[in-house]
């Protein structure tokens, strides 16, 4: 039933998003969420990209190796990280000042659901077991570009919907959606820009509840 294995899907999504950043000719500041978003860093090979972590650091380096671990130097996913030259530290109000103030060029986040109005649901699945919002609402509102990284479907159930069923994180904040099967831009509506080489548009439509337009420049995902 799976067109692409979970592990391959995650790597493809991360690589495709890294492409966006690898093309940057000017300095860009990005914030990476937990999960696939964190993996994006592994595929960035552009010195113009600097990673901000909302717990108070700009210039986050790779995850710390065993011997480098410092429990007081972590990213927002509580993982031990390293420093890069020119990095700096600041308090949480300044950190979210950067985010809310529109100084972050892009945020890459995961999501449970996306809808055709550009809404993102990624902070809670009401089941009584979760109690947390973190910085998700600030990030989708504040970042100049909101890139969602997620599997196209969840156990065969669509995640790209006509209307989010889960509580939303922000109103129409989506700019770009990357799944293992498709790349969409959002500009008032979803626009399919790239499609996986394994499938055709009819298959994609069956796997996608939301309405979407097809770009006249439709390409194959190439990572």
């Amino acid at each position: 039933m799976e067109i692409i294995s979970k592990e391959k899907a995650r790597i493809r999504i991360a690589k495709r998003i890294a492409q966006e950043f690898n093309e940057a000719k000017e300095i860009k500041i990005i914030n990476l969420g937990v999960g696939i978003p964190t993996m994006v860093a592994n595929y960035i090979n552009n010195n113009n990209i600097y990673i901000q972590s909302e717990n108070g650091m700009l210039g986050v380096g790779p995850l710390a190796e065993e011997s480098e671990i410092d429990r007081q130097l972590i990213n927002a996913g509580r993982q031990p990280v390293t420093e890069t030259p020119g990095c700096c530290y600041f308090d949480s109000a300044t950190s979210f000042g950067m985010i809310r103030g529109g100084h972050i060029d892009a945020t890459v986040i995961g999501a449970f659901e996306i809808d055709q109005e550009g809404n993102i649901a990624n902070w809670i699945i009401p089941n009584g077991k979760q109690l947390g919002v973190g910085g998700a609402m600030d990030l989708v509102t504040g970042a100049k570009k909101v890139i969602v990284a997620m599997r196209h479907n969840q156990n065969g159930k669509p995640k790209i919907l006509k209307k989010c069923k889960l509580p939303i994180t922000g109103l129409g904040e989506l700019d770009m959606l990357v799944t293992e099967l498709a790349v969409f831009f959002f500009d008032g509506q979803l626009i399919l820009e790239e499609i996986a080489p394994e499938i055709d548009i009819d298959t994609l439509k069956k796997l996608t509840e939301a309405e979407f337009k097809i770009s006249p420049n439709l390409k194959k995902i190439n990572v």
Partner: protein, 219 residues
Amino acid sequence: MIKKVMDIDEAISYIKDGDRIMVGGFGLAGYPEELVEALAKSGKKNLTIISNDLGSPGIGLGKLLTNNQIKALIGNYYNWNPDVADAYNSGRIEVKLVPQGTFAEAIRAAGVGIPAFYTPTSAGTDLSKGKEIKVFNGKTYVLEQAIHADVALIKAHIADELGNLVYYKTARNFNPIMAMAAKTTIAQVDKIVPLGTLNPEHIVTPHIFVNIVTKRRNL
């Protein structure tokens, strides 16, 4: 204003049952381990804990929940400690979730005498329900109120004898803003140095915001 260097247990004696307590830290980085430990041992109860998260089950701030010392939580991310959802669902504690950026700004606001501010964060979501909204330049904003506390327990790296503070890496997080927002701020530090040792340009928290300095026993 109290201002002196004292022992951790004496410092904790300034906390009363029912107090609103801010605690710095993000996950297990930057929280004042020994102050939290001493607060857990003190048995103080009916506390409102204002913090980013509640550590892990039985670890760090999680201990206060295990000990039934908590009446209410104000913070933003409790998924690292599933005990919180259990306690909330069984009605043992109240929980007020605030988006992390709003949480940080509301703490700073309390420190700088701003009673309320507008933010775009959470507009149109469940977390803005019941809050005043207002449109500026065609965009919707939510009115959020300052978050104050009776006592702030913070962690810093070095203090001078007056209580000027510097921090260490991502252990900084909420500590500098919580120092500003409480009636009494207690800082746990790794080291206390003589006045004039810290470079005036490098001080992150001026001593005006710090009432009590207490040195960490175990480094």
